[in-house]
């Protein structure tokens, strides 16, 4: 399934999405307010403890999701070591890692449907008309349904290319790929018009 929600149940899965999102917001404000090394490292350790409360395997899964920021961590630390402001570099790196990890924690422990319900609730609070909310819901459902479909068609296009050429498939595939998406959009629009009675 196309989702980053962790299959491993933790105590955080039981917490409703709303409070988790509010806590994330509050933590973001606090983390940017902290400027000293030790308090910032304590915050980062606190986030790590939240992961460990979900078990060691869960924490390892969370650590893997931090991998994309590692190159940036290395560059920032090297830069600040070079300019003689290593302490400042440590604060920046710890803040970034803690925030990304905390946000990932919310994502990993909240089901997509719960997130969508929260968004729908927030939009209702903003007095967005039900019609607009339904359009958003349909659009979200279409993207979730059609991303794997388009990926499958992209793979088929790449295979067709390989069957005919010794060279690797390149940017030329983007053209038929885009046409596929546009034509699918037309067909789905017809189907929606025929069945939904107008959106």
């Amino acid at each position: 399934m196309l989702s980053l929600t962790s299959e491993r149940r933790t105590i955080w899965h039981g917490v409703p999405a709303g409070p988790k999102l509010l806590a994330l917001l509050a933590a973001t404000v606090v983390f940017f307010w902290i400027e000293a090394v030790l308090p910032m490292l304590a915050c980062a350790a606190g986030v790590a403890a939240l992961y460990l409360a979900g078990g060691f395997a869960f924490a390892r899964q969370g650590a893997r999701m931090l991998a994309p920021i590692l190159p940036f961590v290395a560059v920032i630390l090297a830069w600040h070591w070079w300019t003689g402001a290593l302490a400042q570099g440590v604060v920046i790196v710890a803040r970034m890692a803690a925030l990304v990890a905390l946000a990932n924690l919310v994502t990993m422990t909240t089901r997509l449907q719960d997130m969508l319900d929260r968004v729908d609730g927030a939009l209702a609070l903003l007095r967005l008309p039900a019609r607009g909310r339904r359009r958003l819901a349909v659009a979200v459902a279409l993207v979730i349904r059609f991303t794997p479909v388009l990926m499958e068609k992209g793979r088929a296009l790449a295979l067709a290319w390989r069957a005919r050429s010794a060279r690797r498939p390149g940017w030329r595939l983007v053209l038929p790929f885009a046409l596929t998406a546009l034509d699918d959009a037309d067909r789905v629009a017809d189907a929606l018009r025929a069945r939904s009675g107008g959106l």
Partner: protein, 181 residues
């Protein structure tokens, strides 16, 4: 209405698919993700408003926790990371690209050229302005230093802008009624 909605949704899915299919090798065999190409195409093909909405819908699903960013990344965490500026800049880039595409096409000139220039303005100038400011803010360093680091990726995106020009021309030749929206 339905057609605009499905175009926006299907293009959001296309942007996702372009980032998730890894084997798009650009010039010189450098594997670069085609995701920002998708953002440029959203502007050149759907126009400013619908293009920006398609990108916003894509980012909305990323924020909700779908791993749709290049390399299968996603979730709220990416909005706290060092590349957040590029994410914020994506819809603006699509909007500016779409606006410039239409404006310059009306002014005349070869369509490939005007579309490429529009993609350069939106997908490189505007996008990197956001990307560099975001990187400078998250990593707390000067704009010049951030620009120097991010500059490494500019050549790849210039190539994508040129490709966007050619692909847009070819798509419009195959589906001329797209512009009428």
């Amino acid at each position: 209405m339905e057609r605009s909605l499905t175009l926006i949704a299907l293009f959001a899915a296309l942007i996702a698919a372009l980032g998730l299919i890894p084997k798009f090798d650009l010039a010189g065999g450098v594997p670069i993700t085609a995701q920002s190409l998708g953002v440029m195409l959203a502007g050149t093909l759907l126009g400013a408003r619908r293009g920006a909405l398609a990108v916003l819908l894509f980012l909305f699903l990323v924020a909700l926790g779908l791993p749709l960013l290049a390399g299968g990344r996603g979730g709220l965490g990416v909005f706290a990371g060092p590349t957040v500026g590029f994410l914020v800049g994506f819809p603006v880039a699509a909007f500016v690209t779409g606006w410039a595409t239409r404006a310059w096409a009306r002014a005349g000139g070869a369509r490939v050229l005007t579309t490429t220039l529009a993609a350069l303005l939106g997908g490189v100038v505007v996008l990197y302005a956001f990307g560099i400011v975001g990187f400078a803010m998250v990593t707390d360093r000067s704009f010049a230093a951030s620009a120097a680091i991010m500059g490494v990726f500019v050549p790849g995106d210039v190539i994508k802008a040129v490709l966007a020009g050619f692909i847009t021309q070819a798509v419009l030749r195959a589906r001329p009624d797209l512009v009428r929206g």
